[in-house]
Amino acid sequence: MNITIRIPSPLRRFTEQAAQIELNANTVGEALMALNAQYPDLQTQLMDEQGKLRNFVNIFHNKIDIKQLQGMESTLDEGSELRIVPAIAGGKK
């Protein structure tokens, strides 16, 4: 399936400033593996040592949190959009 992954600005320094990446994958897990292969520095930002998604990163498939779907096993459709949403804290300073 051809899908799109949207990269938030805090993580774009790991994707050569790309805001959107198109790739081919059948599940969320496959898509992240392909993304990490393309941008290896991104891997430690998104995954812990056990390969689990970090606690301060959420992935949404077509606007639904993958935790409400089948997590990394969630299947993708042609044209699916994955969105990486990390915690950001700014506001005051």
Binding site: P8, S9, P10, R13, Q45, R54, N55, F56, N58, F60, K63, I64, D65, K67, Q68, R83, V85, P86, A87, I88, A89, G90, G91, K92, K93
Partner: protein
């Protein structure tokens, strides 16, 4: 019983009152309401102005910071005369002039595990306008423990997030993000920059949500995380749900009180052992004066160097430093500095991790140098 509105108030709020959804009843609800704004900065400025103008009966404002010139790019509550003064004092005096019909309750302190429950308890609703993870988790936890809605907003560079936590069976911040990123992984606005207008957009959304919750009109953002991207001018909403296993608001919560949020966010109360040296500005001055100074390297961005720099220093921006590692002799004495000492500390760590033994960080960065040694330098 809702407080009645005086003729002056009926006139002042007439554009609200003529909205059929709002009416006199809605305006009375605003007058009866109490809202605590945590942080009087980028988000807090428009929040204070709009909620005071809207006639929220009691507006609490908590912040322990003073106004700095770099705030004025986006913190529209303040002006040049306020530089160096307490934000909460400036906010209070400005808002009292804007709307004398409401009560402003200033708190000249930082929200902490010790004071949060007492401060939040009397309020109907809390608005999170903070700038750091420890306070965000503290605000969230205190709101869940006291059962108060938490109107959330956060900004970074050109992007913002907003939602309502702990309201109407919706999720809390911990349902969305059970743990914060380790320190240093996500740059702060002070390091990463922020478009000055961005907080106005996000704060206006937060203020709208607060008014909707108080008056009971419309559909709130609970269960929806709104993402705003200024560069593409896109608003997106993502579905978020309460996590039944959430350690705070789930079915079997393990958190029953406030904790140490600095520790939870991985920020040590006491300095951790570092593998590089640190010297103060005065010590560096002595080394320079006696011709025994190490090679001094400025790791800030080019525009920062144009504002001020230490005479005789080299310049390699932090983002490029790893490409220059090989250029230095491992026995060479190196001193790194940035604005405040944080970024240069990371560079020192990188060098010591790569076998460089004689690496030193300038404590307090060039701002300490500008304060203590060369007061002709422009501070920023």
């Amino acid at each position: 019983m809702s407080p009645s509105l005086t003729p002056s108030e009926l006139s002042r709020y007439s554009r609200h009152i003529m909205l059929p959804e709002m009416g006199v009843e809605g305006q009375q609800a605003l007058k009866a309401a109490s809202v605590l704004i945590v942080g009087a900065g980028g988000l807090g400025s428009p929040l204070c102005l709009y909620l005071a103008a809207a006639g929220i009966g009691t507006l609490g404002i908590i912040d322990n910071d003073t106004v700095d010139e770099t705030n004025l790019q986006r913190q529209i509550l303040y002006n040049m005369d306020d530089i160096g003064l307490s934000k909460v004092d400036c906010a209070t005096s400005r808002l009292r002039k804007l709307n004398p019909y409401i009560n402003i309750q200033p708190y000249h302190t930082a929200l902490s595990s010790q004071n949060a429950l007492d401060i939040i308890q009397p309020y109907d609703l809390v608005i999170d306008g903070t700038d750091n993870f420890p306070t965000r988790y503290l605000v969230n936890d205190a709101c869940v423990l006291l059962n108060k809605p938490n109107v959330y907003g956060s900004i970074f560079r050109f992007e913002g997030q907003a939602t309502v936590f702990n309201y109407s069976k919706g999720p809390c911040y911990r349902c969305l993000y059970p743990a914060p990123p380790p320190p240093g992984l996500v740059p702060s606005c002070a390091e990463g920059g922020v478009l000055g207008i961005l907080p106005a957009i996000i704060a206006s959304i937060q203020a709208t949500e607060a008014i909707k919750i108080i008056t009971g009109i419309g559909t709130t953002l609970t269960g929806r995380l709104l993402i705003y991207e200024a560069l593409d001018m896109k608003f997106d909403e993502l579905t978020i749900v309460r996590d039944q296993h959430c350690c705070l608001c789930g079915e079997q919560p393990t958190i029953k009180g406030l904790t140490n949020y600095q520790q939870f966010c991985g920020i040590a109360d006491t300095p951790i052992d570092v593998t590089y040296g640190e010297i103060a500005s005065q010590e560096l001055k002595t080394l320079i004066d006696t011709n025994t100074a190490p090679t001094i390297i400025d790791v800030r961005e080019p525009y920062e160097r144009e504002i001020c720099h230490i005479e005789g220093s080299q310049h390699i921006p932090m983002q490029q430093i790893s490409n220059h590692l090989q250029e230095f002799d491992p026995n060479q004495e190196l001193l790194f500095y940035c604005k405040l000492g944080g970024r240069s500390a990371k560079v020192c760590q990188l060098f010591t991790d790569n076998g460089y033994q004689r690496v030193t960080n300038l404590k307090g960065g060039i701002m300490a140098w500008a304060n203590e040694i060369d007061t002709t330098l422009t501070q920023y």
